[in-house]
Symmetry: C2
Subunit: 180 residues, 2 copies
């Protein structure tokens, strides 16, 4: 695993112990979504945190690295003009590709379903064979952007020691960075 970002163990400043994972507001910052979206997506079954689900007021949802990656994929699909309904369908495909080296694949959505294509050749084959719309998202961009965001919020903040709360509330700042 060439990346310097630990996937199973959170960075300093993110909870304690190996299974702590990421808290809701942190996930909002990393992914670039509002708390309301995160909550709605959890409550409607799009993505519930795999470490710890919500157990009522005062508790915390805990998301794994892969949870956050999936959320990042969903966000980029929405930014790319894909409907939430279609993104719901696509997410299942990601879960089947859990063990794969996602960074070297592309998520391809077509009329017949979603697949993880390995390399440009496979994508081109899908292009030639398909009809209707093909939606193609290279996963390398998602992984790189997420890893960069994790490193960015893990570094000590000079100006503001509440990065998760303030960053999540600043409209447009993360969206601008993610394109669309």
């Amino acid at each position: 695993m060439p990346s310097s970002v630990p996937r199973a163990v959170p960075l300093p400043g993110f909870g304690a112990g190996p299974a702590a994972g990421y808290r809701g507001p942190q996930v909002c910052t990393l992914v670039g979504i509002t708390y309301r979206q995160l909550d709605y997506w959890a409550r409607t079954g799009l993505l519930t945190p795999s470490i710890t689900g919500a157990r009522g007021s005062g508790t915390q949802r805990r998301y794994s690295y892969h949870d956050v990656l999936e959320l990042k994929v969903i966000k980029q699909l929405l930014d790319g003009g894909i409907s939430l309904q279609r993104a719901r369908q696509a997410v299942d495909c990601l879960r089947q590709g859990l063990g794969a080296d996602l960074a070297s694949t592309s998520l391809v959505l077509s009329g017949s379903g979603s697949v993880l294509a390995h390399g440009d050749g496979e994508v081109v084959d899908l292009l030639r064979g398909g009809q209707g719309v093909l939606n193609i998202m290279p996963m390398s961009g998602v992984v790189d952007e997420l890893d960069a965001a994790i490193l960015s919020i893990a570094e000590p903040q000079v100006s503001d020691t509440r990065p998760s709360a303030d960053a999540a509330r600043r409209p447009g700042e993360h969206q601008a960075a993610s394109g669309g």
Copy 2:
């Protein structure tokens, strides 16, 4: 123009004179959408008929062949999971490609806009250069499907002489043909 479908002159059974075009309910049948969708899209400026707009109760909207083609593109974008909002943005690109041989192009939606790509090579270039989601729709499929639909409803109907009303109300029949 190899196709046998007249673009400027409507087929027998479709109004009179060279500029008659297609009526609203006929368009619904050809494209596979409800009258409500056609009406909403006209009223909200997504696509207003280029031959004759609505002038109140009792009058008829008249759509050109290219109008219907654009509507078909929108419908296939929606079937492919693209949001209506994003389809609105993409339609402008089609209008800029009016004179082109659309059947040999692919409509490509990316974070930076929409383009009509000519040939697989250009699409592959866009794949390699881009980030985020690419949505690709070969126009040949749209043109072929529309031409086939036009020929289909122009032929004399044996069972039912109200093809536009009944076909538009049959759920799934046209959607099944268009995939997704």
